[in-house]
C-alpha cells in the first residue's frame, strides 16, 4: 500500500513538473509573440509613412511635369520662350553629365600622406559617397570631373586611376553643394578622419566660389552612344 502511495505521489509530481514546464514555455511564447507584434506594428508604421512620403513626392513631381507640358504647349509659338526652354534643358543635362565647367559655393578637401601611408581608392570612394549623401552637385578630384561612370582604380606605383588618368597624393577634392549642407558635410568628413590624422594631413576649407572643370575626355563615355 505504501509503495503504491509513493508511486502515485511521484507520478503526480512528475505530471505537475511537466505542466509547469509547458506553462512556462507557453507564457514565454506569448511574450515573444507580443514583442514581435509590437515590432511589426512599428515596422509597418514606418513603412507606411515612407510610402506616403514617396507618394506625396510622386504627386508633386507629376503636377510639375504636367505644368511643364502646359507651359511648353503655350510657348510653342513664342520663339523666345522656346529658345529659353531649349537652353535650360540643354544646360541641365550638360551640368549633370559633367560637360560644362561649373562654379558655386562648396568645399575643398586636400589629403596628403604624412609618412608615405597609402590612401587607397576605397577611401576616396567613401569621401565621394559622403559628398553625394550631402547632395554635392559637382565633384572633382585633382581636376578630374566625377561623372556617373567615373571609376577609382588602385594601380601600380601607388597611383589611382580616375577617368582613365593616373593620380598620386595629394588628392584635391572639390565639391559644390547646397550651402545649408556644407557645415554638416565638414563635420562628417572631420569625423571620418578623426582616427587617422596621424597618418594623413587633411585640410578642409569652405570656399565661396569653387570652379569645377568639365570632363577632360568624353571618349570612354561616348564610344557606346554613337
Amino acid at each position: 500500500m505504501n509503495v503504491i502511495r509513493v508511486f502515485t505521489m511521484t507520478l503526480i509530481c512528475l505530471l505537475i513538473g511537466t505542466m509547469i514546464s509547458w506553462q512556462y514555455k507557453s507564457i514565454d511564447n506569448n511574450n515573444r509573440l507580443v514583442t514581435s507584434q509590437t515590432t511589426s506594428i512599428h515596422a509597418l508604421q514606418e513603412e507606411l509613412i515612407e510610402q506616403q512620403r514617396i507618394n506625396e513626392e510622386l504627386e508633386k513631381r507629376l503636377k510639375e511635369i504636367n505644368r511643364e507640358i502646359d507651359d511648353y504647349a503655350y510657348a510653342k509659338d513664342d520663339m523666345e520662350k522656346v529658345d529659353k526652354t531649349i537652353k535650360k534643358e540643354m544646360r541641365e543635362a550638360q551640368i549633370l553629365a559633367g560637360l560644362v565647367d561649373v562654379k558655386g559655393k562648396g568645399v575643398e578637401i586636400v589629403i596628403d600622406s604624412i609618412y608615405g601611408f597609402m590612401f587607397y581608392e576605397y577611401k576616396l570612394l567613401d569621401i565621394i559617397n559622403q559628398l553625394r549623401a550631402w547632395e554635392a552637385q559637382a565633384i572633382s578630384v585633382n581636376g578630374e570631373r566625377i561623372t556617373v561612370l567615373t571609376e577609382f582604380e588602385w594601380t601600380e606605383g601607388n597611383r589611382c586611376k580616375i577617368n582613365g588618368n593616373y593620380y598620386t597624393m595629394p588628392y584635391v577634392i572639390k565639391a559644390i553643394l547646397p550651402p545649408e549642407n556644407i557645415d554638416y558635410l565638414v563635420y562628417m568628413i572631420e569625423d571620418m578622419f578623426e582616427l587617422v590624422t596621424r597618418y594623413y594631413d587633411i585640410d578642409i576649407q569652405v570656399k565661396e566660389e569653387i570652379i569645377i572643370p568639365k570632363i577632360k575626355s568624353e571618349g570612354a563615355l561616348l564610344k557606346y552612344v554613337y
Binding site: 502511495r5 503526480i12 505537475i16 505542466m19 509547469i20 507564457i27 506569448n30 507584434q37 506594428i41 509597418l44 507606411l48 510610402q51 514617396i54 507618394n55 504627386e59 513631381r61 511635369i65 504636367n66 507640358i69 511648353y72 510653342k76 520663339m79 522656346v82 526652354t85 531649349i86 534643358e89 540643354m90 541641365e92 543635362a93 550638360q94 551640368i95 549633370l96 553629365a97 559633367g98 565647367d101 561649373v102 558655386g104 581608392e121 576605397y122 559617397n129 553625394r132 549623401a133 547632395e135 554635392a136 552637385q137 559637382a138 566625377i146 561623372t147 556617373v148 561612370l149 577609382f152 559644390i176 553643394l177 547646397p178 570652379i211 563615355l221 561616348l222 564610344k223 557606346y224 552612344v225
Partner: protein, 238 residues
C-alpha cells in the same frame, strides 16, 4: 510515510497546482484580451493601408512615366524644329550621358543579398551600403554604358546611404535583394566583378549571396526625379 508527511506533500502539490492554474488563467486572459485583439486588428489595418498606398504609388509612377514621355516628345520636337541637327545631337548626347534617357542593350544583371545563414567564420552576414558602392565602382572599371540598382538609374549625383535596414539611392529607399542592371561588355563586367577584392574578401568569406548572369536587351530606366534640385547650387561658367 507518516500521515503528517503525506499531508505536507499534498499541501505542497496543491499549492503548485493552484499557482499553475493562476498562471494559466492569466495567460489565457491575456491571449483573449481586448488588447491582443486590437493589436492583431491594427496590424491587419496597417497592412491593408500600406498595400493601398503602394497601389497608389504604382499608379502615380505610371502616370509620371507617361507624362515624362509626353514632355520629352514635345521638347524633342521643339529642339528639332528650332535648334537644327547639331543642337539636337548635342542635346541627345548630354541627356544620354546625364542618365536622362532610357537605355536598352545587352549586359549583365547582378543580384546581391544578405547571407542566407550564419555559418562558422562569418563575421558580418549583412550586405552594407559601402559594399554596394564598391561593387558599382568595380563595374565602372569595365566601362559600362548605364547602370541601375533596383531600377533606380545611377547618375552623377546618386548617393548610396545606409538608412537602417534599407539603403537610400537617389533619395528613395530600397531593401535587399539589390538587382544591379548593367549595359556594356558582359565579359569585361563579369571579369571585373568576379575578380574584385569585394567578392573575394568580403562576399565569399561572409556568405553574402551574389549572382551574375548575361542578359540581352536589358532596359535601364532614365532618372525620373527632379533635376532642378540636383543643379540649383551650381552655375555654368560661360
Amino acid at each position: 510515510m507518516r500521515k503528517n508527511d503525506r499531508k505536507n506533500i499534498l499541501l505542497f502539490v496543491f499549492m503548485i497546482l493552484g499557482f499553475v492554474l493562476a498562471l494559466q488563467f492569466r495567460s489565457v486572459m491575456s491571449n483573449t484580451s481586448q488588447e491582443e485583439i486590437s493589436t492583431v486588428q491594427t496590424i491587419e489595418s496597417l497592412k491593408k493601408e500600406l498595400e493601398r498606398e503602394k497601389l497608389i504609388g504604382d499608379s502615380l509612377r505610371e502616370q509620371l512615366d507617361e507624362s515624362i514621355i509626353q514632355r520629352d516628345a514635345i521638347l524633342r520636337n521643339m529642339v528639332e524644329e528650332r535648334g537644327g541637327e547639331d543642337i539636337t545631337k548635342e542635346w541627345e548626347k548630354a541627356r544620354v550621358l546625364a542618365g536622362l534617357t532610357e537605355m536598352v542593350g545587352d549586359g549583365v544583371v547582378i543580384t546581391l543579398n544578405d547571407a542566407s545563414e550564419i555559418v562558422d567564420g562569418v563575421i558580418d552576414p549583412l550586405l552594407h551600403e559601402h559594399s554596394l558602392y564598391e561593387v558599382l565602382n568595380e563595374i565602372k572599371k569595365a566601362e559600362p554604358v548605364a547602370i541601375s540598382v533596383n531600377n533606380e538609374r545611377i547618375i552623377s549625383t546618386t548617393e548610396i546611404v545606409c538608412a537602417g535596414p534599407t539603403t537610400r539611392i537617389n533619395r528613395n529607399r530600397y531593401a535587399v535583394p539589390y538587382e544591379i542592371k548593367v549595359i556594356g561588355d558582359s565579359k569585361k563586367i563579369r571579369e571585373a566583378f568576379l575578380n574584385s577584392s569585394i567578392v573575394t574578401f568580403e562576399f565569399i568569406p561572409n556568405n553574402i549571396r551574389f549572382q551574375i548572369k548575361d542578359e540581352k536587351d536589358i532596359v535601364i530606366p532614365k532618372y525620373s526625379g527632379r533635376i532642378d534640385a540636383l543643379i540649383n547650387a551650381v552655375e555654368v561658367v560661360e
